[in-house]
Amino acid sequence: MIIELDSISKYYENEGAITRRNVLNEISLAINPGDALSIVGPSGSGKSTLLNILGTLDLPTSGIVKIKGKSIHDFNEKQLAKIRNDNIGFIFQLHHLLPQLNLIENILVPTIPQKDKSLKKSALERAMNLLDSVGLVDKIHQRPGQLSGGECQRAAVVRALINEPDLILADEPTGSLDQDSAEKLGELLSVINKKQNVAMVMVTHSHDLAKKMDKIYKLDHGNLTDY
């Protein structure tokens, strides 16, 4: 099991608010290698919060999060960073490619903190293969500003895969793309899941995209149910 959520809850006390807002209620979830699941739900239903907790970017107010059987609550910031770098690949709604770097450099950014020397050594070759697979190999020297939104988002997918993670977390990956690009990206993610046996959790509004995953969950008023 890659990751396991055991009865996690989360609530926020936003600035100015008098009462607290429950975002997640007693959610339990287990993700195994090769799993592909999507989470759908209305805006503000807590999808991104759930994804952030899965990605160790946020902690639940209650409940336990375990990665590979170990509770992340016992880890310090450095260890959590290592877990993210080794095991998790993030794809954000916006590509968040760094403007100061060209495409290949952006792809290789996650290899900087990577401790695995062999992984580090083979990073460039891997990056080229991945870029080839997403059709961006001829644009490796271009800056993010010179690429289209779809190209940037595909590059972001490659960046998420560069350290060969066990789990890809995608937060509205097609939210900023046109329909055609969104369709292509969805296909790409599905292929990656299948070919590379990488578990994938995707938060999306798009039912078409959600359907490309094996299982769909619905998050509504903090409760996670099968869709």
């Binding site: 926020y12 946020d58 960073a81 993210r84 968040h96 403007p99 100061q100 450099e105 900087i112």
Partner: protein, 1099 residues
């Protein structure tokens, strides 16, 4: 991809942002380095001045009021194989008779050619009336080579001028001289043994010529020496050599043989044998006679009187052992004149001569024990001391005694006695009685007689010399060069001073760095979040940020060093010109040490990196999600804690301010000013905290109505709270600094005549080149200077002060002073006027009558003293309660305990002790050269005019007391000007920061502005909106600064003697506001007018 590549790429990509950070680093480094170089430069320049003053001179012996043989220098030279030179140094007045211009307080140096050997260049040999003048004399009096000048030189004498029965003589000797050469700095033109940076006015004249003019043949009062070849000569070597080669003449001792009575007689050429000498010679193992012969005014019996007779007091060996203290032996001539016999009681009238030749006539009764022959082995004229003007007088009518002689009282028989027996004493008393009556500060005995016992005169002289120690007469060498260097390097540290004065600029530079870096970091918040999301740890992110900015900081640091050098040149130029009041010299040169540059660069870099580290850490404390979304996602708990801390800071600081202000207003304590200044500073902090809270509330407040312009603008300011508060803080701090500095400028505005002010309410401070030997308050004293007939001087009081020459410890001297000038004051005179005020008094001192504390007796040689608090703190670097050690004229240590610090006064630079203590320890200081003059204010000009006229030949400089004080104030004011200038620079940097923030805000709010335009806001309205928003920050900042400053200067504001230069302060505040408005107006106008609109259209 490596971390290094990532850093380099990021650095290059964000180079424009880095340039702005570089600007901040550059400013703080430049100011830091500049200030440090100022310190080095001032120290180096002072060291150069020491070199110019001393050339190759390493040691000097200054004999004070005594004189030694010039040949002594030669003897020491031979003994130690070093270069020496004897100097006869006196004060004088130099007059350009053509232009009538003059310089009082010229140093006249009688030198021979050996003097120039101690400089690197040889000057022409002087003969006769030729002189070499220093170039500042040439400049001031507009003189050139071959011009003729008039010198009026202090008429010095071997005999202390105020010693009893010293004949009156002209105070000065005048003669014309021809200028043979002009001595510049490189050939000892600046020569002087005082540790001060200002150049003395020097005249060098032939030693032979000067000593001939003053009747001081072959004498010197300074001996200077070089080092030996091995460069290892020390003071002990020199003092040992001095004790080996000195002669009795150097101690002013004369020994003569009295063969008829088989004795040697030891006399002093100073008339009274100095106490250290008599103490050394009164060896109980050697039978000796001690003699004190005194001139009495009259010896009376019933109606009969014998005028002006010598009476000798002698030790028991000389007279019968059973001589009682009220018994007297008289000679037959006197017995006959008064018609008295044994057991009759006679009266003797005599003068006691006090300071400034004040005479007090006293009477003593004696019972006649015996009558002896008028002349014999015991009673003869050898007992009369060598009173010049008396012992060499042909008749009684020729007497010049220094006391009033009524010639009408002198009878023919008295003249005959003088013809027959000269000054043979007419009466004899016991030595103990004589000492009780006539012992004075110049000595106890006029002669000591010792049995010859078949001893050769030369052997006896050697024996006597062996008993004496030059050190006991305060004759010793000092390492003048070493002391000079120490004083030059130990004085006010201009590096520290300028660092503290530049503090605000440095803070402004740091704040600017922080502000700009914060803006940069904010613009890269998402990047930080993404890196966190991709598995970079906080440490790695800090490492990346740090490494990226190290390049900027290092470059900024090194570039800042070069700007710092330029900044230093600017400061040094200002110090040599417009700020010369501080340094009193134009000889300051820039001196750059590589270590200083390195320290400056390192300091600037470290400061910048610390700021960067601080901001990065602060940013990384935000949740990662917030970073990725570029929004603050602090939990309510964190926000609550922060708000609570804010409230706590605000409430606590307001409470502290209230407590401090109330305490300061209710209690009259010395530290009021300090407390209120702290209150002002804390008030500033409380205001910032309150503003922070208001901003928080404004952000949270929900308006249900249409927001007006002000609310809208305030909301916008609150949105970027950190930036807004940084700007407010910067402006508030700057305004606070400027007002505090401006308001503390020293001014009078009518308070100068108040007794408690720094003038003591006195009209004038006057200094003369030549000592005034008489009490100018007495009729006799006034008549000596023809002041007795001037009606305008009738109600004028002269407070004449004795002074021991020393270094100027005022703020006009940059050197660290070890032994400032001592002034002997009469405490009662100042007490009765309740003059001056004290900043600090030692515990146990009577606060109501502090001056009288100077009279209180302490342990032996422990003397209470006052000084200006500024002198104590800055000149001496000491505190009230500390002790200064001097050598008195007996070669003993005296301990001056600083029992109080005066508020800024005209005494600045001096140490004040009671006059009676002064005269006890420095008896040979003759006359007074410093006077405080008290009189009716309405006659001020007339008094000055009269004194200038009558005392012109004494080289009088009459300075209105307020003017003297304002000279010292001008130093303080110049410092404040510098501080204000640098503070102003800081404010300009602050307003520059405001401009940067503003431009950044506009860029970030392009979409908001576009929206406003879309909904129908005109350019003018948008301009107004942004302008108001930023004017708020400006007004808040300056307003808080003003309020805090008002609290800070509250004690001064409510003090009756304080007047704030309102217009000056107002001008400064307006300047700050004006500068701020400019920095707001132009960026907003430009943005609205041009670039912004087109960029919006493009988007």
């Amino acid at each position: 991809m490596t971390i290094r590549n990532f850093i380099i790429k990021s650095f290059w990509h964000f180079r424009k942002q880095h340039l702005a950070v570089l600007a901040g680093t550059l400013i703080s480094t430049a100011v830091l380095t500049g200030a440090l170089i100022v310190g080095d430069s001032v120290k180096f320049s002072l060291r150069q001045i020491v070199d110019a003053q001393l050339g190759n001179i390493k040691f000097a012996m200054q004999t004070g009021d005594r004189f030694v043989r010039s040949e002594l220098a030669n003897d020491i030279s031979k003994d130690l194989n070093i270069a020496t030179s004897p100097i006869l140094q006196l004060q004088g007045i130099t007059i350009n008779t053509e232009s009538k211009s003059r310089i009082n307080k010229t140093q006249i140096y009688g030198i021979d050619q050996s003097f120039w050997k101690l400089s690197n260049k040889i000057m022409p040999e002087l003969s006769g009336d030729e002189v070499i003048i220093s170039d500042n004399v040439a400049q001031k009096l507009n003189l050139k080579i071959n011009d003729e000048i008039l010198l009026r030189v202090e008429n010095a004498n071997i005999i202390p001028l105020n010693a009893p029965f010293t004949k009156e003589s002209d105070p000065s000797v005048s003669f014309r001289v021809i200028i043979k050469a002009i001595a510049h700095d490189e050939n000892l033109g600046r020569f002087g043994l005082k540790n001060i940076q200002s150049a003395p006015y020097n005249i060098f004249i032939s030693h032979d010529y000067l000593s001939k003019k003053l009747d001081l043949h072959g004498l010197a009062n300074i001996i200077i020496t070089s080092d030996n070849k091995e460069q290892n000569l020390n003071v002990d070597d020199l003092n040992y050599s001095l004790s080996k080669v000195w002669q009795l003449e150097d101690a002013n001792i004369v020994i003569q043989e009295l063969d008829d009575i088989g004795k040697f007689e030891i006399l002093s050429s100073r008339i009274f044998i100095d106490q250290p000498i008599s103490k050394s010679l009164k060896n109980p193992e050697i039978p000796n006679e001690t003699i004190l012969t005194y001139l009495v005014n009259s010896i009376r019996f019933n109606e009969k009187e014998t005028p002006y007779s010598f009476v000798t007091a002698a030790s028991t060996l000389f007279f019968p052992n059973d001589m009682r203290k009220n018994e007297i032996i008289i000679n037959e001539w006197l017995a006959s004149d008064l018609n008295v016999s044994v057991n009759d009681t006679i009266e003797i009238d005599y003068f006691i001569i006090g300071p400034l030749r004040t005479l007090e006539e006293k009477t003593k009764e004696f019972v006649i024990k015996d009558i002896i022959p008028t002349q014999g082995n015991i009673a003869n004229k050898s007992l009369m001391p060598l009173f010049h003007g008396l012992s060499d007088a042909g008749s009684c009518s020729d007497w010049e005694t220094g006391i009033p002689i009524d010639l009408e009282r002198i009878r023919d028989k008295d003249e005959k006695y003088w013809d027959d027996y000269k000054g043979t004493p007419k009466a004899f008393i016991s030595i103990q009685t004589g000492l009780n009556l006539w012992q004075n500060r110049y000595g106890s005995y006029t002669a000591i007689r010792v049995d010859q016992n078949n001893t050769d005169l030369d052997d006896f002289k050697k024996e006597i010399l062996n008993k004496l120690n030059p050190n006991n007469l305060n004759l010793s060498f000092t390492p003048v060069q070493k002391d000079g260097i120490r004083a030059a390097s130990g004085g006010v540290d201009f590096g520290e001073l300028f660092l503290s004065m530049s503090f605000f600029v440095i803070v402004a530079g740091i704040l600017l760095t922080v502000l700009i870096y914060s803006l940069n970091t904010e613009s890269r918040t998402v990047e930080t979040g993404v890196l966190s999301g991709l598995g970079f740890s906080k440490k790695q992110i800090i490492q990346i940020r740090f490494s990226e900015n190290i390049i900027t900081a290092i470059f900024g640091g090194f570039a800042g060093v070069f700007i710092g050098i330029l900044y230093n040149y600017g400061i040094m130029l200002a110090l040599n010109t417009v700020w010369q009041n501080i340094v009193r010299t134009n000889m300051l040169n820039v001196y750059i040490r590589s270590s200083t540059l390195f320290i400056g660069a390192l300091g600037g870099i470290v400061i910048a990196l610390f700021a960067i580290y601080f901001v990065t850490i602060k940013k990384l404390k935000q949740p990662i999600i917030g970073l990725i979304r570029d929004s603050s996602l602090y939990t309510q708990k964190v926000i609550k804690i922060r708000n609570n801390i804010n409230k706590l800071v605000a409430l606590t600081s307001i409470l502290i301010v209230i407590v401090l202000v109330s305490y300061s207003l209710v209690a009259s304590v010395d530290q009021n000013a300090g407390l209120m200044l702290s209150a002002g500073g804390i008030f500033l902090i409380s205001c910032i905290s309150v503003i922070n809270l208001i901003f928080n509330k404004t952000r949270q407040n929900l308006h249900h109505s249409q927001p007006d312009f002000t609310q809208f603008a305030f909301k916008n300011a609150a949105k970027n709270k950190g930036r807004s508060i940084a700007i407010i803080a910067l402006l508030a701090l700057g305004t606070f600094t400027i007002i505090i500095t401006g308001a503390n400028r020293k001014t009078f505005y009518g308070s100068e005549n108040i007794r408690q002010s720094g003038t003591g309410g006195f009209l004038f401070w006057s200094e003369t080149t030549l000592p005034i030997l008489y009490n100018l308050n007495s009729e006799d004293g006034k008549s000596k200077f023809s002041l007795d007939n001037e009606v305008d001087l009738e109600n004028v009081d002269f407070i004449q002060l004795h002074e021991l020459n020393g270094d100027d410890a005022s703020c006009l001297n940059l050197n660290q002073v070890q032994k400032p000038k001592i002034l002997g004051v009469v405490p009662e005179e100042l007490n009765k006027r309740n003059a001056f005020s004290f900043v600090k008094l030692m515990k146990g001192i009577d606060e109501n009558k502090p001056w009288l504390e100077l009279n209180k007796s302490h342990e032996k040689n422990v003397i209470p003293a006052f000084a200006d608090q500024t002198v104590i703190t800055w000149g001496l670097m000491k505190e009230v309660g500390d002790t200064l050690i001097y050598l008195n004229e007996n070669g003993e240590n005296i301990y001056l305990v600083l029992i109080g610090g005066l508020n800024a006064s005209i005494f600045q630079g001096n140490i004040l002790i009671a006059d009676n203590e002064f005269m006890k320890h420095f008896p040979t200081v003759s006359g007074s050269k410093t006077m405080l003059i008290d009189g009716p204010l309405e006659n001020k000009d007339k008094i000055a005019e009269l004194l200038n006229t009558y005392l012109q030949d004494y080289g009088i400089d009459i300075t209105p007391a307020s003017e003297r004080l304002s000279q010292f104030y001008s130093v303080t004011n110049t410092y404040l000007t510098v501080f204000m200038f640098l503070g102003g620079l800081g404010v300009i940097i602050g307003t520059f920061g405001l401009g940067i923030v503003l431009m950044r805000n506009i860029l970030e709010r392009r979409s908001e502005i576009a929206l406003l335009m879309a909904v129908g806001f005109s350019k003018k309205k948008i301009f107004k909106l942004i302008f108001i928003e930023n004017i708020y920050l400006l007004l808040l900042g300056t307003g808080i600064g003003i309020c805090a400053a008002i609290i800070g200067i509250l004690p001064s504001l409510i003090s009756p003697s304080f007047s704030i230069p309102v217009s000056f302060v107002l001008l400064l505040v307006l300047l700050v506001l004006f500068s701020g408005v400019l920095w707001i107006y132009f960026p907003v106008r430009n943005a609205i007018k041009s670039g912004l609109i087109s960029s919006l259209r493009n988007e």
